[in-house]
Symmetry: C2
């Protein structure tokens, strides 16, 4: 026995750096517990109760609003009530954007009220609104290539359509128009910017979302509901001068300090190391923030609750983060990354849920090569839940945890079915009824198994300062 | 030959009353033309152009609003532009109900804004609104059976759900709550009435619609969007006193005289007899009245336009009616019935389209027995369009023409697929994008064939004053 040990020690000394790459593995006992956890987590009601409670007792949670502060207290109290071993918060500071209201009408040639929402970071119009002719472009490139004289003083409209997909890829099109379109129009002298909502539905409920005026003079910017965009296009098709009256009452008013709210189940073996999961607590204001992203926190809460119900605490800690102000630019994720960059190796693996509550269909990861087999074992453990493993694709960890991954946290991505998500995302339709309890439970079970196995892994996943600096994520 | 004719005449004389029941038949030449018409009507663009134009150039058409008057002029001009031989209007007088706005909030125990719409005929609240505790009932029967003391001074909420169906049968549930619930609550001393919208969707867009206070003191009455009804139920489930602040600015302001707008393709053989079809021109105000009921008139316009394009005018006239104020109680249909009761036999057969623009899947009719074979022949002619014939079920002619059927017009019902209709009906979502051009064309072709064959029929369908008085319609 002693000789054997001596031999091992000698080999370790001989291989030097390679010793650090001893393959990470998932112990058999952990896999056995995980298969039981998979079943118990499917029955755990904590996730549903969390998102039902948050949407019923609080509702919309625009970052920096009164409800945002109430929600932080609510979440901390819920974490405590659920028996988390530690609950704390970490400050996050960001600009405070407020919405007081908006309305718009086509005034000529055919009067029509328009359903629209101002974009986050949009300034308001002067009181009483502005009236200007509309100039329409099919794409941002068409706007970019237009002579400034055709744009100056006008309300620019850009109206590409998004189509639903399991991986939600068209959001790339819609969000690019929303995020970059207003600044581009501003640089060309436009009076205001309107887009067709970045959504896949045909409801008369506009999709808000953030825009970015970095390097440009902010101009009023808003999203039309898709049927209203259609109507505007039908009016424009007649070739007559078309005028819109636009009144937005909104804008940035100083800064605000909120917080990431954090709860932890303390590990019994390596309490300073942790698996981290969560979602963002802020929501856009028209809905009650059920799918974006009450569900994300709820799934993590449910998973942690199911793990806590096991006979023994896991080796490593299980951390749930309710991030602050993801919507206006990942402020919570960036603050977490700043605060924890120095000890990022303790965050052994992480995944955030921020694509609704429909079922997880795929797992991908970005970890060190010697942890790849451990990810394969974790993937095998969630396969009975209908999750396929794509070993060739990276994992970013999700929105806020993507910012944490960028400073060195190993990351797994648990890809949800986004087919329905962009019908409701950022609209008044983001309400509890859009969550299917059965699919929510599947999410809880997947997260519970992944979190538990990461917490029990023999070895780490490569988290280290700057470890994945060259990785672009998903 | 002569002897044969004599024999026939003798038989006719001998059978007396039976002579009037000589079977109505569809001439072979008419069936041949109809099969060509079926194809040409599928390609006719007049229906799409009509509903695109009406929704783009006019939009919402609340009865008695400025847009209602503009729409009548627009339709008359369009009828003339399409080459209708005669265009006229007939006055229709009704109470003028106006909506200026509404809002409501749950104020305790958890503040939430509620998406709702006042019901047609609802009075407003006092300025500043009312605040009262909510009392909820699952059904109207439960409300009926509740002690008055439990209801007095409260805001009554009744929340049954509707489910989508091809024949839309759940609208019976939803519309009964909407039409009769407020008066019932009023009789028990309620301060106001709220219902879960009579719709099959889960959008945060409430469904308005008419209510009826006959025999009761009008009280403020409004429909909550389905997710808002869910939210209210989740709040109530907590068992705490729940207060709503309700502010409706609406009510009846005197009376208004509008009109049915009528266009006719004049028949070459029996110009005073006519097949009548159409829809209602008024719409609820939140949407642009595309499926309810711009499409109905559009389908009739398309069918008439396709018939007009035939080498010869049909034997009988083809009449298209754009009815006034169907929504608040079939005012246009009743006015038409009053005006034409004395010469109702001239309306040989009629059918109104008022269930959207999705495809027709069934034909039924209420005609005299000796015209049943002719209906069978007409049904056979539309079978290639995917329409089945149910010879055992009655046909009411549709909403306004149902009122005309009640005074003696023989009626056919061309049943549309209503699966999607009650997702959008009476909401802001009633917009042009909800119309599928291919299904709209199928409707046009069915109406064209039915109208044409009725106009060419050798014999009538039994229209006569009081002919179908005992028939309850569909």
């Amino acid at each position: 026995m002693v000789r054997t040990l001596s031999l091992v020690l000698a080999l370790v000394a001989a291989t030097g750096a390679a010793a650090a790459d001893k393959p990470t593995r998932i112990p058999d006992a952990a896999l056995k517990t995980a298969s039981e956890l998979r079943e118990s987590a499917l029955k755990d009601q904590a996730a549903w109760d969390f998102v039902e409670g948050l949407t019923t007792e609080i509702g919309p949670r625009l970052a920096a609003s009164d409800n945002d502060a109430k929600a932080r207290e609510w979440v901390a109290a819920r974490f405590k009530a659920l028996g988390f071993d530690k609950v704390w918060s970490e400050p996050v500071t960001y600009p405070k954007w407020v919405r007081r209201g908006e309305h718009a009408e086509i005034t000529a040639p055919f009067p029509h009220a328009l359903a629209l929402l101002a974009l986050g970071n949009s300034p308001g119009t002067p009181a009483g609104g502005i009236s200007a002719d509309v100039v329409a472009f099919d794409t941002l490139d068409a706007l970019k290539n237009a002579p400034d004289a055709n744009v100056r003083g006008k309300i620019v409209y850009v109206g590409p359509r998004m189509h639903a997909a399991k991986d939600g890829h068209d959001y790339g099109i819609g969000s690019t128009v929303r995020v970059t379109g207003p600044a581009l129009a501003s640089k060309k002298g436009a009076a205001a910017f309107l887009l067709r909502s970045a959504g896949t539905d045909d409801n008369r409920l506009p999709h808000t979302g953030v825009t970015d005026f970095t390097g440009a003079t902010p101009i009023p910017a808003a999203a039309l509901a898709s049927p209203d965009a259609d109507l505007l296009e039908h009016v424009l098709k007649r070739g007559q001068p078309t005028t819109i009256h636009l009144a937005l009452d909104c804008g940035i008013e100083g800064s605000y300090t909120g917080a990431n709210v954090i709860g932890e189940i303390t590990g019994r073996g390596k309490p300073n190391e942790y698996f981290v999961m969560g979602g963002h607590l802020d929501s856009w204001d028209p809905g009650t923030g059920a799918i974006d992203d009450g569900a994300g926190i709820a799934i993590a809460v449910g998973a942690a609750h199911a793990i806590k119900a096991l006979p023994q605490r896991p080796q490593r800690s299980i951390r749930v983060v309710a991030f602050a102000n993801e919507e206006a630019g990942l402020f919570g994720g960036k603050a977490y990354a700043d605060a924890h960059a120095k000890d990022i190796a303790q965050a052994v693996l992480g995944s955030e849920s921020d694509l609704g509550a429909d079922r997880i269909w795929k797992i991908t990861a970005t970890v060190k090569p010697s942890a790849r087999d451990a990810i394969g074992a974790i993937a095998e453990a969630v396969k009975p839940l209908g999750v396929e493993y794509d070993a060739s694709a990276p994992g970013s960890g999700g929105s806020d945890l993507g910012a944490v991954h960028a400073v060195g946290m190993a990351a797994v991505s648990l890809h949800q079915d986004a087919t329905r998500y962009f019908d409701w995302h950022h609209t008044a339709n983001d309400t509890l009824d859009k969550i299917d309890p059965a699919q929510l439970s599947q999410n809880v079970a997947v997260y519970a198994v992944v979190a538990y196995l990461a917490a029990q892994a023999d070895g780490d996943f490569g988290s280290a300062a700057g470890a994945f600096a060259s990785d672009k994520g998903e």
